[in-house]
Symmetry: C2
C-alpha cells in the first residue's frame, strides 16, 4: 500500500476545511504570538543575557515551522515564511562547528548527549521534520541542510565514537524523522541511523536507577520486537511505534511488523478512551493497565492522540484492515479536535474524559497537590507547549489520512469534502468527495479514471455491511459516482465490562462523534443524571457553538439534605442536552461528562 | 446528661461479648507479641545499643496498656498486668529528672518540644489515659504519678516559661487526656492546661511554611471556636473535638459547644462514609470537601472512626439527640469493626470502601507509587501501628456507649446484651438487655427500679416512630420490661446526589449493618453487577464466616472482546451474595464493593 500525500489532496469544504482555514487565519499566528511572549523565538538569538531556554523549546518551534510549511505548500504565507527564514538564519549562525544545535545546550554550554531525558534528539527530530517539510513546500534547503549536518554529528557520536552518555534517546521522535529525511535524501545512512536507534532501544537498561531515563517510561524495558503491550509515556510510545512501522514497511522486517500489530491492538483493544485519547495516568503521562481507563483522572494528551493517528496511518500502509482507519476517525473527530478551541486560540494539553472542577479543590486540603484532576479551562500556551504547534502541523496535513493506494485500488479511509488527483498504475485518477461528514451521513464520491475504489464502512455503522476487511469495493471504469449513506442516528455505547469506570454507564455517539454533557447545559452534578436505555433522541442545535446537539429525556434525583437515606426512587424528568465532545469547554468552566448512568 | 462508665455495665452475650472475649483471649496477646517483634517493648529499656524508637512508639504501647487496664478491671489478667508493671518500672527508671519522658527523645538526646509534628504530647496524652485507666482498674498509681510529674514539666515549659518551639501539639490527644486526668486528680491545673492547648490552637499560624506543622492539617487554620467544617487529619481532628466537647461540658462554654455541633454536623452530614468511616484522602489522611467521598481511594483509618465515636459519645452528654448515637452505631458495627479480623489477629489501618486489587498495579507503571489504593489484605502490625492497640482499648470499654442518664431518666443509646447497675437520683436501678442485635431486631429491656427509660429508635428503622429527639420514653415504676422489635429487612440505601461516587448506585443494609460484595463470592469485576431496584432479598448464611448473608437476584453483562460497542443489554442473571461489611477480607485478597449499580 502506498501513501497519498496531502499535497495531492485538496480539502474543499466541510468540517476540516473550516479547521484548516482556522489554523491558517488564526491559530498559526496565535501560537506564534504566545511563543514570542514566552521567549521561544527570541531564544534562537542565543543572547547570553536572555532567558535560559528550556530543553524542549526547539521542538515547540520546530513543529510550528513544520505547520507553516504545510500551510505554505497550499498557499504561500509571506509573513509566516519570513519568520521561518529569519529563524533559520539564527540557527545557521548559532549551530556549532561540529553540527550540534540545541537552544538549551548551546546557551548553557553544557556537555552534549549526557542526560537521556533532555530531549536533544527529540528536538532534532522535530527540526528534521520541519526541514523536510519546509524544503518540500518552498524548495528552500537551508534548514534541511543544517539538520543533515547535525545528523552527521549525531551519527558520529552515537554510532562511530559511541562516546555518549546514553545509546538511545529518552523521548523518541528522531527515529521517525530520520525516515522522513531518508525519503528526501535517499541517503541510506539516514535510514540506518533510524534503525540503529530503534534496534538498540531496550537492549540494555540505561540509567537503571533513574525512573525518567530507563524502563517502561520510555519503552526501554525490553527490545522493541519483544514489546507487545503499550507501555510508558504515551507520546513517546506512539512516536516510537511510528518509526517501527515505517521500518517494517521499508525493510520488510516481519518481527517489527508483528510487534507493531500487537502494540496497536494493545492500545485500540484495551488501553484507549472512547474519544481515541490515550494515556490513563497523569503520573508519567502514561499507559497503565489493560482496561484501566479512569475518567476523572485521565491524562490523555492531545499529542498522544496525534501520535496514535500517525501510528495507525502507518499501519494502514502495512495491513489492509479498517480497524486502523476506525481508530484514526475516532481520534480526529474527538480526542484530537477537543485539543483546540472553536476559535482556534485555546488549547487543551490534556483532554478531560470527565470534569468535576470542585474536586480540584481537594488539593487545598492535602499535601503537595498530589491529587490530579485535569484543568477545567483552556490555555493559549503551556510551559510545556507541545500540543498547540502539533495542531498547527496536524490539521493542515490531515488529508494525508484520506487515501492509500495499492496497484489500481484506491482505499478511501476517511470522509472529507475534497478533491484529489492520484497516480495509480501509471494512470491519473481524479477522486472527489462531497459530504458534510461527520454531521451528515451522505457521502458522494466521484471518480474519473479507471480504478477499483475500496470505501471503508465505519465500525460504528450498523446499516451497511462491509465485504472485506471493513471495506466495500466499487469498480470504476472511465468514471462513476459512489453514493453512500452511513445512516447516522444517535446510539448508546457501552464499554467492556472490565472497564471499571464504564460499568453501569453508557456514552452517546452519533456517527463517529462522541457527545457529552456540560454543566452549562445541564446544571451541576452531572453524575446524578440517569439515562433510560430506551431514551428518545431529538436533534437540537446550539447557536453559540454553531453545532448540532442531541436532546433526550433523562432523570435526576430530587435534592435532599440527607447524606444517606433509603432509596426513594425520587426522580425528576429532565431534558438532557449533549454537545459534540470536540467542542468541550468553549463556554467557560464547568462539569463535563461522557459516561452517563443508565437504567 | 451524665455518662455511664463501662465499669457499671457488663456485656453478657451477643456480638460484642464475642468481640470482648476475642480481645481478652487473642488480640491483647497478639498485639503484644507483634509489638515485641518490632522492638516496641524492648525500646522502654532505652538501651543505647538498641533500635532507635520511632516518635510514636510510646503511644502504641500506651494504648495497649490502657486496653489491658480495661480488661483487667473486669477480670484480672496476671500475665498482662505483669508486663505493664515491668514496663512502668522501666519508665520510672528512664524518666528524666525534669519529668520528661519520650522514647525517641530520651534515646536520641534531642532537644524537647521543638518539632511540632513529633508526637511528644500525643504520646504523653496516651500515657495519661493509660495511667488513669490502670489506676482505676488496679489501684496502682505509679504510672499515673509518673505522668503527673511529666504534666508538671509540660505546664512549666508551655505555660510558665513559654520557651518551647511550638504552642500547641501537632497531633492532638493530650487535651482530652488532661481532662480524664483532671477527673481523677480534681487538680484544676490539669483542666486549665487542657484549656490552654485548646484555646491556643490556631490563634497564630505556627510554622507557616511547613505543611505538616501548621494549617488545616492539624486544625490550626483558625481558632477552634471559629471552626465549623471538619478539616485535616481526621484522627487529630476528632481527638481535638473530643476535648472541645469535654471542655464545653465542664465549663459550660457555649461557643465551644456550638463549634462542636457544627463540626459534628459537618462530618455526619457531609463528610462521612456509609460505614461511619472518615478521612476521604490518603494524602494527609484527611477530610477533604463536602460530599467528596471517593470509594476506591478512601483512607478511612480505624482510629478516625474510633475518634468519631469518642466525639459523638461526648456530644450525647451535651445534647439530647439520637443523631449522635446513630453515628456511633453506624461506626461500631461497620467502619470500626472492619478494622479487626474475625480471628482477632489481623488488622486494617485503612478500611477500604471499595477494593479492586489490580489497580494497585497501576503503581508499577507510574512514578513514585503516587496512586493510592488501599491494601487488599490485613496485617498483624504496621509501621505506624496505632489502630491495633486502639481496638484493644476500644472494644473492652465499648459499654461506655450504651447508656447516659439525666435526673431519673436513663437513655438507652445502644443495644447490646448486657446488665447494668446505675445510680440515678440517688437510687439504684438495674437494667438488663436481652438481644441478638445487630443480627436480630428484637430487644428486651428489663428494668428494676423507678426510672424514665428513653430508648433510641435507630435512624434506619422505618417501622417505629420516635416521640422526641429520636427516643421513645417508657415510665418504669418498680420494675418493667420493654419489648422492642425494630424490624430488620434488607433495604437499599442511596447517597446524596452530590456524592459523586454514589450516583447511579445503592448500598444494601440490614438494620445497622452495611453489607458488601466480595470477589470470593461473586467473581471479579464486581462493578459490572447491576441490582434491580425491586430486587428480592433472601437471607443466607456463610459457614466460613459464621455470619448471616444476603442473597439477591442481580445482573452481569456477558463478556466481550470489544473495548466499546453499541449497548446490547446483554445481561446474565446471577445471584449476588453479600456479607456484613465488618467481615471483609477474612477470606483472602480480592475485590470488595459496597456501592452497586442499580437499574
Amino acid at each position: 500500500m502506498e501513501r497519498v500525500d496531502f499535497s495531492r489532496v485538496e480539502i474543499t469544504g466541510g468540517f476540516f476545511k473550516q479547521k484548516q482555514d482556522m489554523v491558517r487565519n488564526v491559530t498559526a499566528k496565535a501560537v506564534y504570538d504566545r511563543f514570542c511572549d514566552t521567549n521561544r523565538f527570541d531564544a534562537f538569538k542565543l543572547d547570553k543575557n536572555g532567558v535560559e531556554p528550556h530543553v524542549f523549546w526547539d521542538s515547540d518551534v520546530a513543529k510550528w515551522v513544520e505547520g507553516v510549511a504545510y500551510l505554505t505548500s497550499k498557499k504561500r504565507e509571506a509573513e509566516l515564511e519570513k519568520i521561518v527564514d529569519d529563524l533559520v538564519l539564527e540557527i545557521e549562525k548559532n549551530q556549532l562547528e561540529c553540527g550540534y544545535f540545541n537552544l538549551h545546550y548551546v546557551f548553557t554550554g553544557k556537555e552534549h548527549f549526557v542526560n537521556r531525558d533532555h530531549h536533544e534528539l527529540y528536538c532534532l527530530g522535530h527540526f528534521i521534520e520541519a526541514g523536510v517539510a519546509y524544503y518540500l513546500a518552498t524548495g528552500k534547503r537551508k534548514l534541511l541542510d543544517l539538520m543533515i549536518k547535525y545528523v552527521d554529528y549525531v551519527e558520529k557520536r552515537f554510532v562511530t565514537l559511541k562516546d555518549t552518555g546514553f545509546t538511545t534517546p529518552g523521548h523518541e521522535e528522531i527515529e521517525l524523522a530520520l525516515i522522513r529525511l531518508y525519503e528526501v535524501t535517499k541517503d541510506e545512512r539516514h535510514l540506518k541511523l533510524s534503525q540503529f536507534f530503534v534496534d538498540e532501544r531496550g537492549k540494555k537498561r540505561e540509567d537503571p536507577k533513574d525512573y525518567w531515563c530507563g524502563g517502561e517510561y520510555n519503552q526501554s524495558h525490553k527490545g522493541v520486537r519483544e514489546q507487545d503491550t503499550a507501555e510508558g509515556h504515551s507520546v513517546r510510545a506512539t512516536y516510537l511505534y511510528c518509526a517501527m512501522a515505517d521500518l517494517a514497511k521499508k525493510t520488510g522486517d516481519v518481527s517489527l511488523l508483528n510487534a507493531c500489530k500487537a502494540l496497536f491492538d494493545s492500545i485500540a483493544g484495551k488501553r484507549m478512551y472512547i474519544t481515541g485519547s490515550i494515556g490513563s495516568s497523569n503520573q508519567s503521562e502514561s499507559f497503565t493497565l489493560d482496561y484501566d481507563l479512569p475518567n476523572l483522572t485521565a491524562y490523555t494528551e492531545t499529542c498522544a492522540s496525534i501520535g496514535l493517528v500517525l501510528f495507525a496511518h502507518r499501519m494502514l500502509l502495512l495491513e489492509n484492515d479498517s480497524k486502523y482507519a476506525d481508530v484514526i476517525e475516532r481520534a480526529i473527530y474527538n480526542g484530537i479536535m477537543s485539543g483546540i478551541s472553536l476559535d482556534g486560540k485555546g488549547f487543551y494539553y490534556t483532554n478531560p474524559q470527565e470534569l468535576i472542577p470542585v474536586l480540584r479543590e481537594r488539593n487545598h486540603c492535602v499535601y503537595e497537590n498530589r491529587e490530579y484532576f485535569p484543568e477545567p479551562q483552556r490555555r493559549e500556551v503551556f510551559e510545556c507547549s507541545c500540543c498547540p504547534p502539533n495542531m498547527v502541523r496536524f490539521i493542515p496535513s490531515i488529508a494525508n489520512l484520506i487515501y492509500t493506494t495499492e496497484g489500481n485500488t484506491i482505499y478511501v479511509h476517511q470522509f472529507m469534502e475534497s478533491k484529489a488527483k492520484l497516480e495509480i498504475d501509471g494512470q491519473s485518477v481524479e477522486i472527489e468527495q462531497k459530504t458534510n461528514y461527520p454531521f451528515d451521513s451522505k457521502i458522494e464520491i466521484t471518480v474519473k479514471g479507471n480504478a477499483n475504489v475500496c470505501v471503508r464502512v465505519p465500525e460504528w455503522c450498523d446499516t451497511v455491511k462491509a465485504e472485506e476487511n471493513g471495506y466495500n469495493s466499487y469498480k470504476i471504469e472511465g468514471s462513476g459516482v459512489i453514493c453512500l449513506d452511513y445512516e447516522m442516528t444517535p446510539y448508546l455505547v457501552e464499554a467492556n465490562p472490565k472497564v471499571t469506570d464504564g460499568c453501569g454507564k453508557c456514552a452517546i455517539m452519533k456517527g463517529p462523534l462522541v457527545y457529552c454533557m456540560e454543566e452549562i447545559d445541564n446544571g451541576k452534578y452531572l453524575r446524578d443524571i440517569t439515562i433510560p436505555v430506551n431514551c428518545q433522541f431529538k436533534q437540537g442545535y446550539d447557536c453559540d457553538l454553531d453545532l448540532p446537539t442531541i436532546e433526550l429525556g433523562a432523570y435526576r434525583r430530587k435534592p435532599t439534605d440527607k447524606l444517606y437515606q433509603r432509596l426513594r426512587g425520587n426522580y425528576t424528568e429532565i431534558t438532557a442536552k449533549l454537545i459534540p465532545y470536540f467542542a468541550i469547554l468553549n463556554r467557560g468552566v464547568g462539569e463535563m461528562q461522557i459516561w452517563h448512568n443508565i437504567k
